[in-house]
Structures are given as C-alpha cells and as structure tokens.
C-alpha cells in the first residue's frame, strides 16, 4: 500500500507518459524489419499489449480515492507554448478503458496480422501504436494545443489504418469519407477552443476553466463541441462515415476504432461540457439527450437490416454511442436542476456503458476478424454453422453477444439497468413538460435494448448456428492461441464487470466526485449494487450468476440422470420435404424483414422482385440511409457548384495570376491609406 501511495504522489503521470512514449518506440521499432512478421507481430504487438496493461493499471491508481490531479509541462511544443499534461480521475478512467480493451486487442492483433495484406506489417505496427499513443495523449492533454495535435494524429493514424488495403476502391472511398468528416469535426473543435478561452488567448485548460463566458458564447462552445465530438462519435446525422470506415479496416483496427476511439470522443464531450464549461442550462442536456436517443434508435434499426457482419456491428456501435450520449445528456439535465445524485447516476451509467461497450464491441469485432480469416466471407448470407468448426471463437463471441444484448449477468445489463434507473427517477425534475417528456426516454431506451437483442440473435444465429450455407465453410479452422487469449481477456472483462459491478462503480465514483461533487450510493458487497437506495432497487450479479448456473446444472443432471440420458444426432424434422438444404434456413435478410417492414420510413429501399414466371429468379434489395440522399448528396452538389464557380479564377495565364497579386497589393495599400 505504501508503494501505491508513493506512486500516486509523484510518478503516476510520469509513468503514464513513459508508457505512451514506449508505444511510440515500439511503433518505430516495427520499421526496423518491417517485413518480418515474426518480429513485428509475435514480439512487438505483445509488448504493446503489456504496455496497455500498465496504462490500465495507472488509470486504476488515479481512480483511487484521495488521488489529486497531477499536472506537468512537457518540453515539446512551440516556443512559449509547451504541451501541458494532466492526470485526474476522468482521464484515469479513460486510460483504464483504453488500456484494458487495448491489451486484448493488441494480443489478438499479434495473432491476426499476416503477410501480404496491403500495408507492410512494420508500417502497420507503427500506425497502430501511434494510434494508441495519440488516444492516450488526447486523454492526458491539458491544453487545447496538445489536445488538437493528439486529436488530429489520432484521426490521421486511424485513416491510414482504415486504408490498409488501399488498392480496393471502396476502401479508398470509405477512407476519404472518414478523413473528410474527421476534418469537419476537428474544425468545429478548433472553433470551440477559440470560444472557450474567453478572450484570455491562453490555451491551457486551466485558463479555460477560469474563463467566464456569457451564456450565448458558452452555448456556442457547447454546440461546437457537440458537433465536433459528435462527428467523431457518430451521432446522427454525422454518422455516415462510421458504417463505411469501420468495416473497411482490418478487424483489430475496427475494434480499436469502435471500442476505443469513439470513447475518446465521449471523453472530450465530458471534459468540455462538465469540466471546462461547468455544465450549463437545462436545454444542453435536453438536446444531448434527444440526439443520443435518436442515434440509439437509428443505429439499432439499421443494424437489424444489415447483411454484412461488420456493418451490422458498426451500426450497433452507433446505437451504443447514442445510449452513452443519452445518459450524458441526462446527467447534464439533472445537474442543471441541481439533482446531484441523479446526475451522478446517469453519468455513472454513461461511463460504465462506455467501458462495457469498449469490451464487448472489441470482442465482437475481433471475433468477426477470426471468422473472416477462417472463411474469407463477410456477408451473413454465406456464413452459418460455424459453432462446430470454431468452438473457441463461437463460445467467446457468445459472451460478447449476450453482453451487447444486455442480458444478465453480463456487463451490458448493468449499465443499461443503471440508465433505466436514472430515467425512472426523472419525473421528479422540477420543470414542467421536461418531467413529462424525459421519462418517455426510458421507453426509447427499452425499445433500443430490445432491438439490440434482436440484432444479436441475428448476428450470432446466422454466423454460428444452423447449417453452413457454403460448402467452403467446412474447411474453416478455429483461431490461433494468441487470438484466443485476446478474445478471452475481453470476455473475462465482460463477465467480471457483470458479476462484480460494484468494483467498476467504485472506479467511476472518483470521476463523478471530481465532475459533479457527489457519488452514487455504494452497494453492500462488491457484487451487489444499489445506486440510489437499497430499498428502491438493487442488483446482485453474483447471486444471479449462481442461480443461473444452478438451474443449468440442475437441468443437465435431470436430463442426463432422470430422462433417458442418451444423446442422439438425427436430422431435424423436415415437414415432409424430401430434403433440406442449408439454403432453406432463415437468412439475414429474412430475419430482418419484420424490422424493415415496421420501420419502413427510416429506410430508402430499392428492391427488385422477380416476376412469377422468371426462369432465373433474382431477388435484390438495397437499403440506404435517407440522410445520405437527403442531406449529404445535396450538400456535396452545392460544394461542387461553388468550386466550379471559383475555378473561373484559374485562367492558366501567368500574367493574370500576377495581376491578382498586384491588385491585392494595391487594394491592401489603399486600405492602409
């Protein structure tokens, strides 16, 4: 214990910075022998995973009670504008998230990356670790300058990772769209920081905390932050890049982007809205809540109709980010009415869900990576029955699937339960209409959670259950041991948080204490939580687990001992058809059809149905996003038109170009005169 306290007082921040620097070093070492897969993948990536564990550990240290924020000044940056860093509870929590999920992804990546897939392995290693390090730096930054540098490094390194297979035109397009949206978002953030300094022109977060902004400017800063971080997190209608870019990347990168990078955007939103702007009027929370709920529902509905397994997960990420932002909005709303406990509950739900999503979404993306390597198929229509060929991946993916579906005793349930608890207390908000409308959000959350369950049944059922839809699937092989370790690490995280939720909530208590000045109630034991009052609502993960295990064990024993006890493998009942082929199974399209029908107005559907007497019947359906056609394409047309108008200036004659500068000079001189 003495060692830990010594660490907290002097060196936690230094240690984190050393670890981040060694990530960069590992990346650079990748270039030494950039084509030797043994060196890059089997040596450097596991080292990176170890460092990630260290980062997570230091994050935990900074979350312990009594840890005061540590600040430091780095010897880098511009003259008179050095980089400031700071480690407090909020950054500590996100370091924990980054490190714990990052460790699993890195171990998996060690077994995943092969030779001859686009970018050379060494270069990939560099981009990968720069990406990790830049995310850690965003979280540690204590001035707008370092924040933006790290933020843009994060965007650029992830762009290069997305376009690993840069020869495929679709991936080029996805990468470009991602880069474009990242830049639009970064511009908004730059403007936001321009507002936040409040006339002092100092870029440190300390001076921004101290700045007093008029309500209008504070609102402008908040809206810019919501836009900028929303573009990175994938809030509707800024989400269009996400379902394109996440599937285009190699699976470990998809996992990092979905699991980690989106959370960095959540971090930024928390840092600016709570820490720098000290929260604001109630409509900030209302707006964030509305956008978050809309995003959640949108993501869930679109995930239900996807036929590509990685696109499905990407839409599911949109849904989860929506839930996190809804919880964040609720926290802002309650804080504005000075309902501290309720705000702390909503914030805890947001943070816990961010951590959970980092774990289970990474797990699922990595599992799709294993499936992809084993079968070379991404389309759900060509998978199936893999539970027999890939038992390890199937079992571990099941944990992630159940977590995402929000089933107890796993972690997804805990955070959604907390969010619903927070919503159920909202009728006590002292504001007319708000206290009537906000509780309806609980219904949207419940609907979203139900749809997420539906999506996960589809995801797991179509990939792993049933019969293989293609003969080539019979050759599928299970994942290697490194991949299994990575998956198992993440699955273990899902189970542990689900069973011992109080441990995670204890970590979060440090954050709510710093941001809101209060924490939720502590449960009586590590596995028993009661956030508001034990009499009102409580959840006991361990008992639930034991109960479920007991029921399963009892059923097993009953079937084996009391019933006939023989296991028979026979063909299923086939309704009297002469034969059953794998193509007669329910397909991804078929499974999603009810949702497509119910939520018809959400989609832009192009469908080709064959006529009854068609000799070679073909059924084709394309489901598009209305935002793309209704918002982005018109916007792109306007930009193109403006660019055409401006290109009139380009005449190709040197004399005219010189004339431009001459006239500019004269006009400026007249201006001086």
């Amino acid at each position: 214990m003495h060692g830990v306290s010594a660490l907290t007082t002097t060196t936690a921040l230094t240690a984190v910075l050393v670890l981040v620097a060694s990530w960069l070093l590992i990346g650079a070492l990748g270039l030494v022998q950039s084509n030797r897969i043994g060196w890059v993948a089997r040596t450097l990536f596991p080292l990176g995973a170890l460092i990630a564990l260290g980062v997570a550990g230091l994050g935990v240290v900074s979350l312990t009670t009594g840890f005061a924020a540590q600040t430091g000044v780095l010897a880098f940056g511009l003259p008179d504008m050095p980089f400031h860093v700071r480690l407090d509870a909020l950054s500590g929590f996100f370091l924990l998230l980054l490190g714990s999920a990052g460790a699993g992804i890195s171990i998996f990546a060690a077994g995943y990356f092969r030779e001859g897939e686009g970018t050379a392995p060494g270069l990939l290693c560099l981009q990968y670790h720069v990406f990790l390090a830049s995310m850690a730096l965003v979280v540690l930054a204590d001035d707008a300058y370092l924040f933006m540098v790290a933020w843009e490094t994060m965007a650029l390194s992830s762009y290069f990772l997305v376009t690993t297979q840069h020869r495929i035109p679709e991936i080029q397009r996805a990468g470009f769209l991602y880069l474009l949206m990242a830049h639009v978002g970064a511009l908004a953030l730059l403007l936001c920081f321009g507002v936040l300094h409040g006339g002092s022109w100092l870029m440190t977060f300390d001076s921004m905390r101290a700045a007093t902004l008029s309500p209008a400017w504070a609102a402008a800063a908040f809206l810019l932050a919501l836009f900028g971080f929303g573009a990175k997190a994938g809030l509707v209608p800024l989400h269009v890049w996400l379902p394109e870019a996440h599937p285009a990347a190699p699976s470990p990168v998809s996992a990092m982007m979905s699991g980690l990078m989106l959370k960095v955007a959540v971090y930024g939103m928390l840092r600016i809205s709570f820490d720098l702007l000290h929260a604001g009027p109630w409509w900030w929370g209302m707006l964030t809540l509305a956008v978050g709920l809309g995003t959640a529902l949108f993501g869930a509905v679109f995930a239900a109709v996807q036929t590509d397994m990685k696109r499905l997960l990407a839409y599911s990420s949109i849904e989860n980010i929506g839930l996190i932002f809804a919880a964040l909005g609720l926290a802002l709303l309650c804080y504005a009415f000075d309902m501290r406990l309720l705000a702390a509950l909503a914030l805890a739900a947001a943070l816990l869900h961010a951590l959970n999503h980092a774990l289970f979404k990474s797990l699922l993306f990595l599992a799709t990576g294993s499936v992809l390597h084993a079968t070379h198929e991404r389309s759900l229509g060509k998978l199936g029955g893999l539970i027999r060929r890939m038992p390890w991946v199937a079992t571990l993916a099941l944990v992630g699937t159940l977590s995402l579906a929000g089933l107890p005793p796993l972690n997804g349930f805990v955070s959604e339960w907390l969010l619903l608890q927070a919503f159920l207390s909202t009728p006590s908000i002292p504001h007319a209409f708000t206290n009537m409308i906000v509780p309806l959000g609980a219904a949207v959350v419940a609907l979203t959670a139900a749809l997420a369950g539906y999506v996960m049944v589809k995801f797991y059922g179509v990939i792993f259950l049933g019969q293989p839809r293609e003969p080539s699937l019979m050759q599928a092989h299970d994942a290697g041991w490194l991949e299994r370790v990575g998956l198992a690490w993440l699955a273990l995280g899902c189970i542990l948080i689900g069973v011992f939720p109080q441990a995670a909530l204890d970590a979060i208590a440090g954050v709510t204490q710093t941001l809101l000045g209060t924490t939720i109630q502590r449960g009586p034991t590590p596995w028993w939580i009661a956030p508001v009052a034990q009499a009102q609502a409580s959840y006991n993960g361990l008992w639930l687990l034991l109960g479920m295990a007991g029921v399963i064990a009892m059923m097993f024993v009953l079937v084996r001992r009391m019933y006939h006890g023989r296991v028979r493998r026979v063909p299923p009942w086939n309704c009297g058809y002469p034969e059953l082929t794998p193509r007669m199974q329910d397909t991804a399209e078929g499974f999603g059809q009810p949702i497509r029908h119910m939520f018809g107005p959400f989609f832009r559907i192009e469908r080709e149905v064959p006529s009854p007497d068609d000799q070679a019947p073909r059924y084709r359906i394309q489901i598009d996003d209305r935002f793309w056609h209704g918002l982005y394409l018109p916007l792109a047309r306007i930009v193109g038109w403006l660019a055409d108008a401006l290109s009139m200036l380009q005449r190709g004659r040197l004399a005219i170009y010189l004339l431009y500068s001459f006239l500019t000079l004269i006009v400026l001189l007249v201006f001086v005169l």
């Binding site: 380009q650 190709g652 004659r653 004399a655 010189l658 000079l665 004269i666 001189l669 001086v672 005169l673």
Partner: protein, 222 residues
C-alpha cells in the same frame, strides 16, 4: 513652404529620380540584353545612394551594405543573367501584352498612387532620406507591372529583381537600411533564387521548346 534642401538631400533626390527613370525605361525596353544592363545601372544608383547615406549618417554597416550591393547587383546578377541569356539564345522579347504607351500611362498612375501613399508615412520618418519613400514604392509597383506585362520567363525574373531593388531602396530611405543579418540573408536568397530560376528556364525550354509563358497555359486543368 518646403524648407531649403541641403546638398546631400538634393543629391539623394537626384539619385532617386534616376532610379525611377530607369524603372520607366525598363518598362519600355523590349530587348532582354538592354534590360539586364538597365538592371545593373539600377544597382549602380542604389550603391551610390547607400554610400551617400552612409557618409552623411556615419553608419558603418551601410558601407558593407553598399559594397554588397555593388558586388551582387552590379556585377554578379547581371553577369549570371547575361550568361543565361546567351546559353538560352534569347535576344529579344516579343511585344508586351499591353502596348508600351498604355503601359507608361498606367505606370504614371501608379507613381501618383505611390506618392500619395508615402506622404503620411514619410512625414513620420526622421531620416535625411524620408522624401524618397514614394519613389521607392513607385519602383516596386512599376517592377510588378513589368512582370505582369511580359511574356518571357527571363523578363519576369528581371522584374522580380527590380522589385527587390525597390524594397532595398525603401529600407535605406526610411530606416537607414535593415540589420546586416537580414540584408545578408536577402542577398543570399536572391542569388539562390536566380540559380533556381536558371534551372527552371532550362526545364521549361526542354518541356515546351520555348521560354514563352503562353506555353504554360497548357498546364491548366479543366
């Protein structure tokens, strides 16, 4: 009424007027060889005026500055340009884009503009040379005009160098010159610039078989 001027000031005004004259004749000159000679003459006038200021104001660094001008602008640059011209085989420039009388009229307008511009600034300056700022600015603008009106790449470079002469003159006339470090830096920059231009000339000629800048229009994207 203007106060009576002393001899030095009068001499300076004569030199400044000479500089302006040379600028106008450059604007009207079609032959490249004559342009280079005029550029060298501009250098001579600049050297003389810098020396004059150095003597009257007793400023050590202006002597070095004058020597530097003499070497670089009177001897080195014209020599490089003449060699380039001979190697590239350019003797005459074609007609300017605008005919010469119109160009002269535009130039007159520019001079008036420059004087109007310089008046409030030069009343603030305390140096003996403050009256000449207007001329310095006129030289800059006229050189710019020459760059706009010419076809050939070599004349563009000459216009560019003439502009720098104007800037140098503006600096000596308002503040007794720039610090030595800056001046050395600019001298080096110019030299490097001329070398790079020289390389470009050969590249342009190789690509388009001509040094006429019309050819560059083909580079425009549609």
């Amino acid at each position: 009424m203007m106060p009576p001027l002393n001899l030095v000031t009068q001499l300076l005004h004569v030199l400044a007027a000479g500089l302006l004259m040379i600028s106008f004749s450059m604007l009207a000159q079609r032959r490249t060889r004559r342009l280079i000679v005029l550029l060298a003459w501009q250098g001579v006038v600049l050297t003389a005026s810098t020396l004059l200021v150095a003597v009257t104001a007793h400023l050590q660094h202006l002597y070095y500055s004058a020597a530097l001008t003499l070497i670089e602008k009177v001897w080195l640059m014209p020599w490089i340009l003449l060699r380039l011209m001979r190697r590239l085989g350019i003797e005459s420039d074609s007609d300017p884009l605008v005919n010469i009388p119109t160009l002269m009229l535009v130039g007159l307008g520019l001079v008036i503009f420059a004087f109007g511009l310089a008046q409030p600034i030069s009343s603030l300056a305390t140096t003996v040379t403050r009256q000449t700022l207007g001329i310095a600015m006129a030289v800059i603008l006229l050189a710019f005009l020459m760059m706009i009106a010419r076809h050939k790449a070599v004349t563009q470079v000459i216009g560019f160098l003439a502009m720098e002469n104007g800037l140098f003159f503006a600096a000596t006339s308002t503040t007794y010159g720039m610090p030595m470090v800056v001046e050395l830096g600019i001298a080096l920059d110019l030299l490097v610039g001329v070398f790079i231009f020289g390389i470009f000339f050969f590249q342009i000629r190789e690509q388009f078989d001509s040094l006429d800048l019309h050819q560059l229009e083909a580079l425009k994207e549609d």
